[in-house]
């Protein structure tokens, strides 16, 4: 069918609708490598502006680490640029299996399978391991990729209120007639920054004979005393049946993800998960870079310790100046503003002050729960944090919200 004028107009109208609704996303160009100090071209065509980055998933500050870059370069030289194949035809090199073994050691599971991304891991694994006679019971705030994966699976779908263990218990009781019950949760919830009550979830899973699925993308490398993830933090290592995670955040920030867990479940993914079977292997230089990232993480907790200290300092600073934060222990620190326009206006003003943050609003977060999500990094110095805090004080002061709670902010700006 030709791309007729009428059809073109229909798409143009839809895009215009997104702009009118304030939902149109525009990319901002970073001029150089990822880091705490970056130069950003925004809007397109403007001169680059130096800003401090408070919105990357660069938790350990390894995205441009010289040792990681050097390892990736060596990988490029020794293993080539690409494999031109999916894994099971001719796309698996020695280093792919080596990385899978290292991730298995790191997560303390039984086996691991690499995917092109964690989005792909989540999209593929439910369909591979569950069937019509099973039920998936997910926290209502799980990541969109899990929602997509659940939609592709024939098992019954159900949800429980966010971190509400009483509600989860009700659901587990309700579904005792199913062959397999799988509880599905994020480790760290990406929009709120809180941690799953994984110890309680595991206890319920044992009581009601259920499996546990954990997406630890916003935790791997830094949550827990040695950075293994939420299962380490909650004292339930070895008790999680499936862990998915990404190499695109704390673990180097390039790309790639994995399914890790019970040997048989990982093998089912190798046999059946469609994103694994039908998309290209992870590029060799990324595998080589991630192996170096894991060496660094195994060798020292210094980076995750610094990230923890930075997070405490940042949280304390924002709280003391009177901003309303979502409570949590992770380096995701959401500043609650409730009103979408206020979140966008403040993010714009902070950018003008040299602080790069992004406002989030419906449909990414619930109606009336707009926020600026700040994210800390081990690459942030004391000076970065102090400059960020000073900017927040100035901009929040301009909008008159310092010392104001939810009700007062909503009275001032609306829902």
């Amino acid at each position: 069918m030709a791309f007729s004028t009428t059809i073109r107009q229909a798409y143009q109208d839809e895009l215009a609708g997104l702009r009118t609704a304030g939902l149109f996303k525009e990319e901002r160009y970073i001029l150089g490598p990822q880091g705490a100090d970056i130069e950003v071209e925004f809007p397109a065509g403007a001169d680059g502006r130096p800003v401090i980055n408070f919105c990357a998933n660069n938790y350990l500050g390894l995205s441009s680490h010289p040792d990681v870059v050097a390892a990736a370069r060596r990988g490029l030289e020794t293993h080539g640029y690409g494999l031109s194949s999916v894994r099971f035809i001719c796309g698996t090199q020695d280093i792919h299996r080596k990385l899978e073994k290292r991730l298995t050691e790191f997560l303390e599971t039984e086996d691991t399978l690499l995917f092109p991304s964690c989005m792909d891991a989540n999209a593929g694994c439910f369909e591979a391991i569950l069937g019509e006679e099973d039920v998936m019971i997910a926290d209502r705030l799980v990541h969109a990729s899990i929602v997509d994966g659940m939609r592709l699976c024939k098992a019954m779908r159900d949800t429980y209120k966010h971190s509400d263990m009483g509600h989860l218990r009700d659901k587990l009781i309700e579904h005792q007639d199913k062959r397999i019950r799988m509880i599905i949760t994020d480790g760290v919830f990406s929009m709120d920054g809180d941690l799953a009550k994984l110890d309680e979830i595991v206890a319920l899973a044992e009581e009601y004979n259920a499996m546990v699925f954990l997406d630890d993308s916003h935790a791997s490398g830094f949550i827990g005393k040695t950075g293994r993830g939420t299962h380490e933090h909650c004292g339930v290592m070895g008790k999680i049946d499936v862990i998915t995670t990404t190499m695109g955040k704390g673990l180097g920030g390039a790309s790639g993800g994995c399914v890790s867990g019970r040997r048989e479940l990982v093998e089912m993914c190798r046999q059946r998960a469609r994103p694994y079977l039908f998309s290209n292997t992870v590029a060799p230089m990324i595998v080589a870079g991630t192996l170096k990232v894991l060496d660094l993480v195994f060798a020292s907790t210094e980076r995750r310790d610094r990230l923890e200290a930075n997070t405490s300092y940042w949280r304390r600073g924002l709280t003391e100046m009177g901003l309303d934060l979502k409570q949590g222990e992770s380096p995701i620190v959401p500043v609650m503003l409730y009103n979408a326009k206020l979140a966008q206006d403040m993010a714009r003003d902070l950018f003008a002050e040299g602080i790069y943050v992004v406002g989030f609003f419906f449909p990414v977060v619930p109606q009336g729960a707009a926020r600026i999500r700040t994210q800390l990094s081990a690459a942030h110095t004391q000076a970065h944090l102090d400059k960020g805090l000073a900017a927040f004080r100035k901009v929040a002061g301009k909008y008159g919200i310092l010392g104001k709670g939810k009700r007062e902010i909503m009275e001032m700006y609306g829902k």
Partner: protein, 83 residues
Amino acid sequence: MPIDKQMILDYVIREYLEEDDDTEITYNTELISGGIVDSFSMVSLKRFLEKKYNIQIPDADATPEAFDTVNSIAALVERFVKA
């Protein structure tokens, strides 16, 4: 069998609102387009209605539009109860 809208409303409040959420919900409140119930969590409401009224609502009929208000849900259920 008459459709008990209050029972549906009570279920929606119990199943979808947090304890500290004081959002007022009426029979005409937009549940899905208003962001109170996401289309994914709608499944438990569908199952509740099917059990309560001993009916089967085909997925093709369980649309976000049909589930958007207590009134529209009651109309949908009534259709299958009569059928």
